[in-house]
Symmetry: C2
Subunit: 566 residues, 2 copies
């Protein structure tokens, strides 16, 4: 199944017809949880010239004010610099919050009254147009996040659209459970029954705020954005100051479709801030803002959870992702899989493994027993081998997204014994790009301070444990205290796999067992994998489940007596 | 349909068979939202001697330690006094919180692994046994809340059981959306597809805390209690110190069924506190406590929302319920309906109307135009007429639940001009019962301070407005700023009804239009009426919807490669 091409005619009724099959298939997919997607993940599916046209569209934005005709714009702001080098020079509306939020609130009743099916159809049309512009968005993602081109295309465009559609499907499934009306007839013994007609209306909570992150502005931002919108809430998008463009394009497309379908474009707006203001915090505390979606640091996430009490707050924060290595019957496959996981996007993913727990006495493998030191050396060699070719290395690593990550990497040797030092790689095409290979550091043991906090970026820790039993105890403690989005285990022993699964259930973290092929622990597939569990400190929400969507609307009922029909 | 009688054999598998039809009917009922119930609301359905046996069972508790064999009991505490007079003299376990919570946490894995269907069957068996003991629970509710016997029976037993089953049905419907496993097969062009097997497990958040209220310990406490339990969470019940017994019986029944079905009885426990400790607050901040359900004052509710950040917090707080009176074609019916609403349980309900908004210039009725003063006088006469007979009066009013409410009533004349003074009624059977008729007070207008805060208890305010338009503006402002669980409107003009409905949608409050028959604005029917919207300050949750149940569990997945079947 593929997504329909963008509509020529865009009345809401026409859009319902147009997108019904895709929506119903998405609702089925989240229940079945097999592989499914309407959005092709390979660029060639978008036409022979798609990439070139996408690049041209991206370049046309550079050095100009981004075209957005929002109300209440005070000035144009923005100072994005590509991790690949050049400054983008694009500027965006900085809003008069009072004016912008008032306009957004005024747009609610008509959008609410359109009902779930029409809203879903409009949202699917927005996603269809975003899909058609995948190459342009990929280029914007690449030059704001530092992702390599292939990853920026997949994760930034079709996979982000998948995560959006998945969240929309959950929301639609929930809204479809609310009947529009009901006849309530209560028996009264010998007296005539009481009869009431009741109307039920899905009502949005209010204005939703999406606070974008630097590394995955679309993939992490879309689920909340589109789930809120389909439930009837206007959405104000406050991007990271380093990654505005992908979300600006998204907002522009959403406004275009909303207007064409007869709704207020102010249902979706961009809010870019100045460096000297705290616009995200200001918006999050506004009484009109009733939903906040956030991905980023634990500090600001916890501040939002504590302070934005007028809102339902969905956060994804820091964690310490852990893999337990007990034994393997595919040593080479394990090393290759881990090497790729640690290298992909320089480990700048909330799902990248940080701590590798290995018994100090070594492990059994299909290549014979391996000491702790040998496992470290072999993993280092696997990483070196994977990244030996500059072209392949830059295609996997991308660029370091921020100076803070580069600085953390510079200090990696203070965390323990360096097993593999990070190298800088000269990017053949972008000489200013800061491209680095991962550092592999052996720490003293599970109690080492470095193993108990997130080292975001290309730093992985080899942690010696007394035994696999201690590894599991460490996994339990690490996830319970510090949180995690992912966990992994390698073992040939079903009892160890079962024990690891029991720990994963106990502390609430997604587990991948014995990944040796073309799936990696840091990959999460829409419609199938739950990203985050909301059960440990790394995230209070999961992408996507009922708890992620249901608080975005309420039900208001109206009832009155009715006479029996004659 | 009626609920099966309590089981003789109680293996979890047998209970699944036994209760499947009731559970499936409940799941269907919450989607259809017509009238439905498996629990008979009239005492005679429970046998000729049910009431006498219930009273005897209640009396057997008096003056004794309540039979609960919980771990970690430090001492027996309790000093309940019936609003009808006598002290109960029952004592309950005051827990060593560390010991109790540790035992509860240990009970989680087996309960989690039983799965949603077995847990639901056990919960339905608990509800069936509670149902069979409805008369006993009604007696306990009457003598802790001051509700009159008929109301204590209905609201305290079958209707509370309905609200429990409704919440369980929502939770089961959500858990059934999570498949136990899935095969994920992703095409890879000409290469063989990627194939993974994924297991999905519903995992409880942790220990749930139910903080009971004085007026509706079962009706308001059951939805959170049983929704948490069916999702796999142990539940610690901290009752109001004035209304322990109904929840103690509930806990005892739950423990009995859990043990018979092979689970730890520690999955449900009672925690009674001493007057000199803040046990509810202490429990709410424990890291093991991951869910809090609370009904009560806005002050403590907001404290919980702010401080108990490790938990999902569901609160129902104060509100200012409002009825807009524009016109009526059944003046007598309107007055009778309002008189009953204001009198029922002395207005000690979170759903009782407080503010009656009437144009100062009067209203049109089927009995001709009525001035503001005449409406007040006629409503006063309707209340007087309804409560003229002592037997009927006590059967409707019940008793004042706490001295604070009696004191507020004493000061009602400071709020405005008294249109109808509250009277004390001597209860023929319980001379110490504090029985009072409602006070009706005319305030100066919508801006009067009294109209902007909850006057919990039998105090209603007649509020003159410049017009129905001002009434609607007042309704909007009142609900937005102070919250409400219910709103009502009387009008013969469909445009006014539509405008009121628009306000209700805008501020998020349930609306009843032109109630003149045997349904009252303060009544909320399980499976059909949503109690609270979570959209205004009176409650951050609704009984019951997806948002009320979905955060009580997460999904933990485990995935691994699988080969193609040969």
């Amino acid at each position: 199944m593929t997504v329909p091409a963008p509509a020529v005619e865009t009345s809401a009724e026409q859009l319902v017809e147009r997108h019904r099959a895709t929506l119903d298939a998405a609702v089925a997919a989240i229940a079945e949880r097999g592989w499914w997607s309407p959005y092709a993940e390979v660029p060639k599916a978008y036409g022979e010239n798609a990439l070139a046209e996408g690049r041209a569209a991206f370049e046309a934005y550079l050095g100009t004010p981004f075209p957005l005709d929002q109300l209440g714009t005070l000035e144009q702001v923005g100072d994005e610099r590509s991790p690949y080098g050049p400054r983008l020079g694009v500027t965006y509306p900085r809003p008069d919050v009072d004016v912008l939020l008032a306009a957004m609130r005024e747009a609610i009743p008509a959008w609410r009254d359109a009902g779930a099916e029409q809203r879903a159809a409009v949202v699917l049309e927005i996603l269809a147009r975003l899909n058609a512009r995948s190459a342009e968005i990929a280029e914007a993602v690449m030059h704001t996040t530092g992702q390599a081109p292939a990853m920026a295309f997949q994760a930034g465009a079709p996979h982000a659209q998948d995560r959006a559609l998945e969240a929309v499907a959950w929301a639609v499934a929930e809204m479809r459970r609310i009947p529009s009306d009901a006849l309530w007839v209560k028996p009264q013994g010998k007296r005539p029954p009481l009869r009431m007609h009741k109307r039920f209306t899905v009502v949005p909570r209010g204005i939703a705020l999406v606070i974008g992150c630097n590394t995955f502005p679309t993939w992490n931002g879309y689920p909340g954005l589109f789930a809120s919108l389909v439930c009837g809430n206007p959405v104000v998008v406050k991007p990271s100051s380093r990654a505005i463009l992908p979300l600006a394009i998204t907002v522009a497309v959403a406004r275009e479709v909303l207007a064409e379908a007869g709704f207020s474009p102010d249902l979706v707006a961009l809010a870019a801030g100045r460096a000297d203001e705290r616009l995200a915090a200001e918006l999050a505390l506004r009484p009109e803002v009733r939903i906040v979606d956030y991905t980023g640091s634990t500090g600001f996430g916890e501040w939002l959870e504590r302070e934005a009490r007028q809102a339902a707050v969905f956060t994804e924060k820091a964690g310490v992702n852990t893999v337990v290595i007990d034994s393997t019957d595919d040593y080479a496959g394990m090393l290759a899989n881990l090497a790729f996981t640690l290298s992909l996007y320089s480990g700048q993913m909330c799902t990248t493994t940080q701590n590798l727990l290995v018994p100090a006495g070594g492990i059994e493998t299909d290549q014979g027993p391996k000491t702790f030191e040998q496992v470290g050396a072999d993993l280092a060699a696997a990483i070196d081998g994977l990244l030996g070719d500059v072209g392949r290395a830059t295609a996997i690593l991308g660029a370091i997204v921020s100076p803070a990550i580069a600085e953390r990497l510079e200090r990696a040797d203070t965390l323990g014994d360096v097993v593999l030092a990070s190298r800088r790689i000269e990017h053949p095409q972008f000489p200013d790009a800061d491209v680095r290979t991962p550092a592999l550091v052996a720490v003293s043991g599970p109690q080492a301070p470095a193993a108990s906090e997130e080292q975001f970026g290309p730093i992985a820790l080899l942690v010696p444990t007394g035994s696999t039993a201690e590894s599991l105890a460490t996994l339990r403690r690490t996830v319970r205290e510090h949180g995690a989005i992912t966990a992994g285990v390698y073992s040939t022993d079903e009892a160890v796999l079962a024990a690891t699964e029991e720990v994963a259930l106990e502390v609430g973290v997604a587990l991948s067992a014995n990944l040796t092929q073309g799936v990696y622990v840091n990959q999460s597939a829409a419609y199938s994998d739950f990203h985050g569990t909301a059960l440990n400190p790394a995230a209070n929400a999961s992408l996507a489940d009922a708890a992620f969507v249901a608080p975005r609307f309420g039900v208001v009922q109206s009832r009155r007596h009715v006479e029996e029909e004659g």
